[in-house]
Symmetry: C2
Subunit: 123 residues, 2 copies
Amino acid sequence: MRTAEETVRALWRSFDEGRFEAVRDLLSEDFVADWPQTRERIRGADNFIALNANYPGRWRCRVERIVVTGDEAISLVEISDPSHRLYAVSFFTFAGGRIESAREFFGDCGAPPFERGQWTERY
Amino acid sequence: MRTAEETVRALWRSFDEGRFEAVRDLLSEDFVADWPQTRERIRGADNFIALNANYPGRWRCRVERIVVTGDEAISLVEISDPSHRLYAVSFFTFAGGRIESAREFFGDCGAPPFERGQWTERY
């Protein structure tokens, strides 16, 4: 049985490689994803796979960190296509070695929203 | 000495109440915050306090979760003013009972960016 970290890594590798159907084996029967920013819920592997497969663009996924704690894993992933860059933070729970739930947050990259260079450095 | 969770909770409570100067005691001498989405670095308590105090708007902060693992804490916070809502995920490290670093990600709330209701439910 995969560890939580291996399962999360396999999920993001599949997305990175555009192999969306491959995530089916990583998800439990009653898998649910919540996207609180848009108040969207995605029930079941079929919907989750179809939504990701139909997402406009060809997105690469680079795992920056996976933190495992208790029965939960948290991933921080940089997602990009040639013209966009964003970060995803995902809180995963598990059941029987598969992902049972994902609660995901997405932050777009871009310029600072107001002039604040007196307190910050750019890198 | 405060626990990591207590320290993080105190930080967000201070921001929620608009008591920005109160976070000074929670931060280590060499505190640094990174905001990777804008590639900004904020060095030192003075800059971090001033930037937050001068952030346009009067933002309320509701801690949804704090996950502590090893020498790190991760907070998930809903931040809102009357016209905006966003989530912040912050990865904190500690030294001597104070926050030594924060790596923070911010995700705005809003409508789904394309029509995908065939795979999702709104809640």
